[in-house]
């Protein structure tokens, strides 16, 4: 696999700590995490259940607050941004694909795709782009269906289209195929990679699926809140197989 020509870091993470407290218990979810993601890179974050990978993704997207440390997203330090500013930033710069689709149940497929464009005040022709994306994920004929009327695979394809509608520079996905059978999962993955290639986004993928992670340019493996391994595609080819991580319950 040939590595793309990376530019400067679009995501910079420095000495990041996240402590979760559910009294009387105190859990250090992330401990002193530091890494950088260059623009255009496809980064897979791997780890066993409870290793902190989903938390890390949430922090990278500004969905949660850090306990200490710093995150710079496309030259913006998001660590101390206010809630609404974070929302604006997400709307402009981040696309999201969740494991459980997370479509708004009261909006149709097309309306769900259009929602981020509306929220961020997308300048382009959102409607045309939504139609185009619907076509690319093969759901033109399902445009006016509500999520409840779609299968899991179809819902995730709508979520993919929604993630790309504003042409965000970064796409974050959390186990995008986790709720799908293998055929649908593969189909969604192909679409994700295809769209990512076409749209030239920086892709952060959280997964515990080794096979899925193998598609990435780089794999960051977390263990017990720390970075266990940070490996590029070229190195992985020459290194022995990592032990299979535990499957999440």
């Amino acid at each position: 696999m040939q590595a793309p020509a990376f530019q400067t870091g679009v995501i910079e993470v420095n000495q990041l700590w996240k402590v979760i407290e559910n009294p009387p218990n105190r859990v250090e979810i992330l401990r002193n995490i530091t890494f950088s993601v260059p623009r255009g890179q496809f980064l897979a974050i791997m780890g066993a259940s409870g290793s902190g990978k989903s938390t890390l993704l949430g922090l990278l997207a500004g969905l949660d607050t850090v306990t200490s440390g710093r995150i710079v997203l496309d030259k913006t330090d998001i660590t101390n941004l206010r809630e609404d500013n974070l929302a604006r930033l997400r709307g402009r710069k981040i696309g999201f694909v969740f494991q459980s689709y997370q479509l708004v149940p009261t909006l149709t497929a097309e309306e769900n795709i259009l929602l981020p464009a509306e929220l961020s005040g997308y300048q382009g022709d959102a409607r045309r782009r939504a139609k185009d994306l619907l076509e690319r994920v093969g759901l033109t004929n399902r445009a006016h269906h509500y999520p409840i009327q779609l299968s899991g695979g179809e819902q995730q394809r709508v979520a993919l289209a929604r993630a790309f509608v504003t042409q965000p520079p970064i796409l974050m996905t959390d186990e995008p195929t986790g709720n799908l059978d293998s055929a649908n999962g593969q189909h969604v993955l192909d679409l994700l990679l295809q769209l990512n290639r076409e749209e030239e986004t920086t892709l952060i993928l959280v997964t515990h699926d080794r096979q899925l992670a193998e598609y990435a340019d780089r794999i960051l493996t977390l263990h017990d809140g720390r970075i266990l391994r940070d490996e590029m595609a070229e190195r992985r080819v020459s290194e022995p197989e990592l032990p299979e991580p535990q499957v999440e319950a």
Binding site: V19, I20, E21, N22, R26, S54, T55, L57, G58, A61, L63, D64, T65, T67, S68, E83, D84, A87, R88, R90, G91, R92, I94, F96, F98, Q102, L103, V104, P105, T106, L107, E111, L114, L115, P116, E118, L119, S120, R162, T166, D174
Partner: protein, 844 residues
């Protein structure tokens, strides 16, 4: 997010759960209905008064005074009448009337007019349709109301007796334009000419009579100049003109509707509480969607926009329905208050409060949904990953930040409803009392409800193994997530508390009237007695009379000077000085019952020397001191009395003593007596008849009739208050239904599991019934406890009586509310028991 998208999401969410939001709409509608019904009626009534102002006083301007008027004052009014247009005098009093067909005399309201000019405005409808001056051509005919004809069994052509004189009933009064302006209330009306009244001899010095001078003015007259001239002619006069629209009646209706509006506001507040609960549980269910929207870039205010729109629509829908139902309430109001405001004219439908009622509904809804709406700010987008975790580093900051929307919301709710209460009552003070009282009630209800729930939980934990399974499950359901038991208890409890307080106060007032009222002095009252000794002899000689006749004499006097200083030079306010122009002096042989000597010494029995004793109030008002020599004038005769004693009047005193002189000191002066005597109930008609035969100008009132009238009036007021407090109960029931409906999905799942495990329908329905019964019973218990406490406070402070805790009311409230809660709960749980377990479990 565009308005269209927000609207789309808001609408589709509403459409997805119509039953849940129907309860919200109904909760708002109930409050708006009560409020717009009452306030709308008040507006309509005010409008009617202003539109028909001239008809309602039968003149352009009316000057009303009570008591004796001098020939000089009458001629001055006639002079003013000629100067400004026309004037006619109307005299009203009450007296006894008898008929050949009914031996027992009846109390009637007599009105003497000039049939040639009365009324200046409006129409006096009489059957037969002849001019009034033809019907009352001589001094021996009258026209009467149908009620009098019915009760005295007379009809046109028959005669009635008034003041010992026969009068021909010449016609039936169908409508009387200035009936509301009457000084003697509704009663059975006898309309006669002034010459007729003079013939009865009813009006003498000291008689109870209202004099109304009606003016019909030439165009362009300066009303204020006329008013000023009238005021100079009387010491006490009440003047109203067509611009004010019956101010006395208007004020009475205003204060009634203000009070009732505040009672209705309680229903609106309880209803809005339901909206807040429903929105809170709705937002809890929407937490994931909100988190997703935030995750993909929605700002908090964009998400809030969706739910604000929902709230707004629900408020509008509730407001529209409420205003519609309020129209029915407004229509039914004249019937509800017909005893309080007898002979209400037809009040047209008034829509001017419609918009305000709707606005209030929407405002109340928005205010109460502020805390849940503001809590949207606290929904973290990271919820898409995990729930119920808190951030250690920001723990303390988030703690108060999480609570901030609640506090801001509470402050806005308090401020908003304070403003509404002030607006409705048009008084900062009353608004403050209302909101303060209500807030205290709600807090007390909340605390007591929480304590009871805690106690019940403790009890169930302690006795867990000994309790039947249905009870254990039923009780556990109260603590299920989303059940909002405490809010339901507060909402239902408020309704029970107000309804029961009204009932307990109503009963307390009536008991007080019976036990502490004039009944102690006797059960037959005598008014306008002139010859005290003769009437006493007559009554005491009648069979069935079981006590001596107790009579108190009084006369109306003018205070001339104090210690030789004319009243005009005394340092008194103008109002007090005016009072002294016609001050009432009561006579007493010895220290009367119900008053306590404060200073000085009371005169010995049979004292014939003029001496004066005054109440502490009068002493303060007129700056009197022991030893002061006060000069009075009665019917042209002056006398001077030294102030020998001051006293404190007990609240239960049967007579309002202010200025008292020895009975014998006023012998020879025109004294009017009133009093009472104990007569066996069966003999009362015979005594009334004897008094009427021998003393036709004396008014006799039977205590039973008086109590009946008081009871009717109190019942009527209580009925209206209970009717409106019932809206608060209804709102509470809706809230309970809404809360049950909110947990419908959980209940369906539980029923499926229980059925799968072998529970029968009856077992499951028993569990739910126990849950509803416990909620209802606790709400009833809390409401009843607080109702008893409030009744005790009000009775102690305002009625000066002690009230025992009413235990039976506790039982009735608990059982009644439990039944109501079952009804509401089962209505909201319809078809839950019919679900097939497999369908439900498969759907998971």
């Amino acid at each position: 997010m565009s308005f269209t998208t927000a609207s789309k999401i808001a609408w589709r969410e509403l459409r997805a759960a119509p039953a849940k939001f129907l309860f919200v709409v109904l909760a708002v509608a109930v409050g708006v209905a009560a409020l717009s019904g009452v306030k709308g009626f008040g507006y309509a009534f005010r409008g009617m008064l202003l539109r028909n102002a001239k008809q309602l006083i039968a003149a352009d301007l009316q000057a009303q005074t009570w008591g004796n008027i001098s020939p000089e004052q009458i001629s001055r009014m006639q002079q003013l009448g000629s100067q400004y247009g026309e004037m006619t005098r109307v005299t009203e009093t009450i007296s006894m009337a008898g008929s050949g067909k009914l031996r027992v005399p009846q109390m009637v309201s007599v009105k003497a007019i000039d049939p040639i000019v009365y009324p200046y405005y409006g129409t006096l409808k009489i059957n037969p349709d002849k001019p009034l001056c033809d019907l009352l051509r001589n001094d021996s005919s009258v026209v009467v109301t149908p009620e009098l004809e019915l009760r005295m069994k007379v009809s046109p052509g028959d005669t009635i007796r008034l003041g010992g004189k026969e009068f021909l009933v010449a016609g039936t009064i169908l409508s009387e334009p200035d009936r509301l302006a009457s000084g003697f209330g509704p009663g059975m009306r006898v309309l006669m000419s002034r010459a007729g009244l003079d013939r009865t001899g009813l009006i003498q010095f000291g008689s109870r009579a209202a004099q109304r001078f009606l003016f019909k003015l030439r165009p362009g007259i300066n009303l204020d100049a006329l008013k000023s001239a009238i005021k100079h002619s009387f010491h006490r006069v009440f003047i109203s003109d067509y611009r004010e629209g019956s101010p006395v009646v208007g004020r009475a209706v205003d204060s009634t509707t203000t009070f009732l509006s505040l009672v209705s506001l309680i229903a609106l507040i309880v209803g809005s509480l339901g909206v807040a609960m429903a929105m809170y549980s709705h937002l809890q269910q929407r937490m994931d969607t909100i988190a997703v929207m935030k995750a993909i870039g929605a700002r908090a205010n964009q998400v809030m926009q969706i739910y604000l729109l929902q709230t707004l629509w629900l408020g509008i829908a509730g407001g529209v329905i409420g205003v519609g139902v309020g129209a029915a309430v407004q229509r039914s109001f004249p019937w509800l208050i017909h005893r309080i405001f007898a002979l209400l004219p037809i009040v047209p439908w008034d829509w001017s409060f419609t918009l305000q009622g709707m606005s209030l509904g929407i405002l109340a809804t928005l205010l109460f949904t502020l805390p849940p709406l503001l809590s949207i700010r606290n929904v973290r987008p990271s919820l898409v990953f995990r729930r119920n975790m808190s951030d250690a580093s920001a723990e303390s900051r988030k703690h108060w930040q999480d609570k901030l929307p609640g506090w801001i919301g509470a402050a806005l709710i308090f401020g908003g409803f304070y403003c509404i209460a002030v607006w409705l009552s048009r008084s900062w003070l009353m608004g403050s009392y209302f909101i303060g009282g209500l807030a205290a009630s709600l807090i007390a209800l909340g605390i007591v409800a929480a304590m009871l729930l805690f106690f019940m939980r403790f009890l169930v934990r302690t006795w867990n193994r000994r309790l039947p399974p249905s009870f254990r499950h039923g009780f556990a359901n109260i603590y299920r997530p989303g059940n909002q038991a405490r809010s339901v208890l507060v909402a239902l409890g408020v309704g029970v508390m107000f309804t029961l307080t009204t009932y307990l106060l109503q009963r307390t007032v009536l008991r007080q009237v019976v036990s502490e009222g004039p009944g102690r002095e006797g059960n037959l009252f005598l008014l306008d007695v002139r010859d005290a000794s003769s009437i006493s002899r007559l009554i005491e000689s009648q069979p069935g009379v079981t006590s001596k006749v107790q009579l108190v004499g009084y006369t109306v006097s003018r205070m001339l000077s104090k210690n030789g200083v004319p009243v005009s030079q005394l340092r008194l306010s103008r109002e007090r000085r005016n009072d002294l122009q016609a001050v009432r002096i009561t006579t007493a042989k010895s220290l009367p019952d119900g008053i306590n000597l404060a200073n000085g010494a009371w005169w010995p029995p049979n004292c014939a020397q003029p001496q004066l004793a005054v109440s502490d109030e009068a002493q303060r008002d007129y700056h009197l001191h022991l030893g002061d020599r006060v000069e009075f004038q009665v019917a042209g005769r002056a006398f001077t009395a030294p102030l020998v004693a001051t006293f404190h009047r007990e609240q239960r005193a049967p007579v309002r003593y202010d200025l008292v002189v020895p009975q014998k000191a006023l012998e020879g002066l025109p004294i009017t007596y009133y009093g009472a005597v104990h007569v066996k109930p069966a003999d009362i008609p015979r005594v009334e008849e004897a008094v009427f035969e021998n003393f036709p100008t004396v008014t006799v009132m039977n205590l039973a009739d008086v109590l009946n009238r008081i009871q009717e009036a109190v019942d009527q007021v209580a009925l209206v208050v209970r009717f409106l407090a019932g809206f608060a109960i209804l709102a509470g029931v809706i809230i309970l239904s809404s809360s049950v409906a909110g947990t419908r999905y959980r209940r369906i799942r539980e029923v499926a599991i229980l059925k799968t495990l072998g529970a029968t329908k009856s077992r499951i329905s028993g569990i739910f019934s126990i849950e509803f019964s416990i909620l209802g019973a606790i709400a009833g218990l809390v409401g009843a406890i607080l109702a008893n406490v409030f009744t005790r406070i009000v009775a102690d402070r305002f009625i000066d009586t002690n009230v025992d805790f009413d235990w039976p009311s506790l039982v009735v409230a608990m059982v009644g509310t439990a039944l109501l809660a079952n009804l509401a709960g089962w209505l909201a749980s319809a078809h839950i028991l019919d679900q097939r377990p497999l369908e439900v479990l498969r759907a998971e």
